[in-house]
């Protein structure tokens, strides 16, 4: 009987402890994010707009090959790049633009990374992410030649845009089904 009581007490204590742990990690996470928002990230090992674009293109290229798993890898890398973004060199105006874009784009990157087996869902998030990335490269000096492409067929004919590093069309929305559907709308310099 004594053993039972000890057992129950042990379980109760562990559960309470677990509960508390959860709370503290959550609080810590919250304070970390406010901390990060308030202070520029340290200059060392921070990521740049170039990194963000690179990981976006990783997702884009994976989607052109209908490869949801690789798109998820790109999504993970992109959300990490957002988390480590180095704002030190940005002007106040740029910081505002970046904050607006990242408030939305980060979530799309996360969803793409979590839905490796649902490529249609990944593409939905990719569509909005593409708008965010387009605004980002328009607001920040381009580091490479980029193109804004347009696919008129996606989303039941509503159409969608994406950003590409090549002049040739490789469609990330329709993938292997219609790889060359679409057109270059703008050369982003």
């Amino acid at each position: 009987m004594k053993k039972i009581f000890i057992g129950v007490a042990f379980i109760a204590i562990t559960l309470t402890a677990c509960n508390n742990n959860n709370n503290t990690t959550e609080e810590k996470k919250n304070s970390d994010t406010t901390h990060m928002a308030a202070m520029p990230a340290p200059a060392t090992a921070g990521s740049s707009v170039k990194d963000i674009v690179e990981h976006y293109l990783h997702i884009k290229n994976a989607l052109t090959k209908d490869d949801g798993k690789d798109a998820a890898n790109g999504g993970k890398a992109l959300s990490d790049a957002f988390a480590k973004f180095d704002q030190a060199s940005l002007t106040a105006e740029q910081k505002k633009t970046y904050a607006d874009i990242v408030s939305d784009a980060k979530e799309h990157a996360e969803h793409i990374s979590m839905n490796a087996d649902k490529i249609a869902h990944q593409r939905e998030h990719f569509e909005t992410l593409s708008k965010d990335i387009y605004d980002l490269v328009k607001a920040f000096p381009a580091q490479q030649a980029l193109y804004k492409d347009y696919c008129p067929m996606y989303n039941n004919g509503k159409g969608a845009t994406w950003v590409s590093e090549t002049k040739d069309i490789k469609n990330p929305y329709l993938g292997k089904k219609m790889p060359t559907c679409g057109q270059v709308k703008e050369e982003i310099k």
């Binding site: 039972i4 057992g7 129950v8 007490a9 559960l15 939305d104 909005t128």
Partner: protein, 154 residues
């Protein structure tokens, strides 16, 4: 037999013990200025649908069923609500950037239209949260319109 008895006793005690750990309730009790209905236009009918079908997990006010007070079910629900609010919180909608608000409205329309929301595990237990075809159309049309009106405001 004696061992079995000990084990069932132990489980019973454990069950009673965990009832002592009740997570904080997600009940704010009021509609704050950041609520979606105060931020963008939400027709009364749509607002009612959102409240019955979405607000339990996507707002600061959950209407708890009785079994939420029984652990470990309550913990599971708590987890669920925390995740739901992280993705979309109608009570905090006004604090989102306009860009994020548009994204959320787009996702609302697509999730409702493909039936991934409200969750089938939720509607299974909350029959009144099931959206009819007309309800769905209403929510989808509202979300699309609201998104466009934010886009033009931007």
């Amino acid at each position: 037999m004696r061992l079995n008895k000990k084990i069932s006793l132990l489980l019973l005690f454990a069950f009673i013990a965990i009832q002592l750990i009740q997570p904080a309730r997600n009940i704010d009790g009021q509609v704050k200025a950041k609520d979606i209905s105060k931020t963008i236009g939400v027709p009364e009918r749509v607002n009612a649908l959102l409240r019955t079908a979405c607000y339990d997990c996507h707002s600061n006010n959950t209407n708890y069923p009785w079994y939420a007070y029984v652990q470990p079910i309550g913990w599971m629900l708590n987890n669920h609500i925390r995740n739901g609010k992280q993705q979309l919180n109608f009570s905090e909608f006004g604090s989102y950037s306009l860009r994020r608000q548009q994204s959320k409205l787009k996702s609302i329309a697509s999730q409702v239209s493909d039936g991934s929301m409200p969750l089938s595990s939720y509607t299974w237990l909350h029959k009144n949260a099931r959206l009819s075809k007309e309800d769905k159309a209403l929510v989808i049309e509202w979300a699309a319109q609201a998104k466009d009106s934010i886009a033009t405001r931007n």
